[in-house]
């Protein structure tokens, strides 16, 4: 029983680390820029399919593919912000039309993936998938451990970028302190554009990690919408460290539920937590009161 419990907690932590990578981009867009990019998880799936193609064709390592494609996604993200800015934000229509826009975008990406790849599950091959380290009775399947490590490193990198560099601080200031931003001499549109770029870039990496962990099909992204939003809201909207903590909590909670009650209940965990948080503590568990 204890062994089962500890193993469930460990695999929850590993899973949670990966969730942080998925939620990271949303934490920047939703938490800091106030852009409700509901399509983010689907963009993660898009990243996963890129990893799948290149792994299948050239046998490249999925993590490497994710890292190489991050700059490409950065550019895509900047382009996306351009469209969003000119169509909605500039005219003050982001609340209704902006939301619906990302919803439509999510839908288009998903359908395009279905049309190209069908609804069969796809997976990647890498030497570490299938291996498991054991420390005592605790299992560390590398399929989970490698994504965990990469995700935590990426999250920490974004954390330090946000808190230590000029550009990063400008992003943190863009939603909270317009005056400070002006004093820094930064153009809010450019700052937001690069912030959305970074957010989408993390989706390329998160996608590569996802397809290491589990086989995917196009509609898997929908399950991550609630998870990612739950993590961002629980983590206190835009706090990177809060996002990591919340992701670990959700990961462990899901892992415990699926170990002891069965995996079919796991999706309800994050969504239920999200609903409760929204209802009773919208500033998040790890946010400031």
């Amino acid at each position: 029983m204890t062994e089962l419990f500890i193993n469930a907690v460990v695999s929850g932590l590993l899973l949670g680390g990966f969730y942080a990578a998925v939620a990271l981009g949303l934490s920047i867009t939703f938490g800091q820029l106030d852009i409700v990019n509901i399509a983010h998880p689907t963009i993660v799936i898009f990243g996963a399919y890129i990893a799948y193609i290149l792994n299948e064709t050239f046998g490249l390592d999925p993590v490497l593919i994710g890292l190489v494609f991050a700059p490409v996604f950065y550019v895509l993200g900047m382009g996306l912000y351009r469209i969003y800015y000119y169509s909605f934000e500039r005219t003050g229509q982001e609340s209704l039309s902006g939301l619906a826009f990302f919803f439509g975008l999510m839908f288009i990406i998903e359908v395009c993936l279905i049309l190209t790849f069908g609804v069969d599950y796809r997976l990647v091959s890498a030497p570490y998938i299938g291996q498991t380290w054991k420390i005592g009775f605790v299992d560390f399947p590398l399929r989970m451990t490698v994504p965990f490590i990469v995700a935590v490193v990426v999250t920490l990198a974004v954390y330090f970028y946000m808190s230590k560099t000029f550009q990063g601080r400008a992003i943190m200031a863009v939603s909270q302190d317009r005056l400070a931003l002006q004093l820094m001499g930064a153009d809010p549109v450019k700052v937001k554009q690069s912030a959305l770029g970074i957010a989408i870039a993390t989706a390329a990496i998160a996608g590569a990690l996802l397809i290491i962990i589990q086989p995917i099909e196009p509609s898997v992204g929908r399950l991550f919408i609630g998870r990612a939003f739950a993590i961002v809201v629980l983590g206190g909207m835009g706090s990177i460290s809060g996002t990591l903590m919340a992701a670990l909590v959700i990961g462990v909670a899901e892992s415990l539920i699926s170990t002891f009650y069965g995996p079919s209940w796991a999706p309800a965990v994050s969504f239920g937590l999200l609903l409760l948080t929204l209802a009773f503590r919208p500033q998040g568990i790890f946010g400031r009161a």
Binding site: F30, V36, I38, I83, S87, Q93, S95, L96, S97, L99, A100, F101, F103, G104, L105, F107, I108, E110, V111, C112, I114, L115, S219, R222, L223, I225, G226, F229, A230, V233, S264, W265, P267, A268, F271, G272, L274, L275, L278, A279, P282
Partner: protein, 321 residues
Amino acid sequence: MKINGFWIGVLIVLALGYAFTFFVDNEFYFFAVYVVLQGLIMAVAWNVLGGFTGYVNFGSAGFFAVGVYTSIALNKAFALPLPLIIVASACICGLIGLGTGYLTLRLKGVYFAIATLAMAIVFETVANNWEYVGGAAGTYVLQPENSFFFDSYVEFLFMVMVILAVFATALSRYLSISKIGQGLAAIRDDETAAECMGVPTLRLKLISASIMGGLMGIAGAPFPFFISFVDPLSAFSLLIAVNAIAMPMIGGTAYWYGPVIGALLLGTIQEITTVTISSELNLLVVGSLLVAFITLAPQGIAGLIHDLKNGRQKAKDKSHG
């Protein structure tokens, strides 16, 4: 005058619907129109909260599915007649709308949007695990023998759907031209200003959310009898959620007739593309139309018509003055 025009239209639609059951034999047409009307009710429902009040509901499929499963459960447990089942589904979904609204409508609108999304998934998980109504494997629902004075049960369901669609449209029209509708429009434009002008914003938002939920419930209630096999995949279909947003957005959210235009247009296009091309491509058409309209014509078709009329009026005024 205008009121008469609308009610005459209602009578014509009801009469046409009834005549349709006499003169059309091919069941395919009943199925096709049923699906279009179901989309219409969902679109009208979504628009009561989304278009009139400015709060986006991403979880339309969740409300719809609660209607579907309420219907299955009541049918299985008590074998209630369909009208009662529809009323019960409307009440339950209305209460869910009220509850979600009460918990999240005091926050910024985007939280409501996310909460509805989350709620849909929670319901889907429950449906997947609730064996009584079929669980993940799904369940068969037998059509009752009695099809009243129609030739088949499908024709009966078709007529029920026509009546429900007319009811939903009339309710939404009443809302939009009434004092409540003006209050909702004020909330959509500027909630703080509305509150300071005496509009009881929370109360109106809750009314709007309950009506939205209730109408989605009535759209879902006849569905199990229509499709005869229900599993969570068909009840929580993403297409239902997308259509509920896309139809009003394309038709025009600010007017009661916007979602009606959008639903008839988009619904018909979908029926045609599904038959002639493929259902995936049909989804792509919906998504692309949605994004194209939001970016290029955010007021939708009704908005374009409205501008056109206004433009003519202004030109007229100028030539006279």
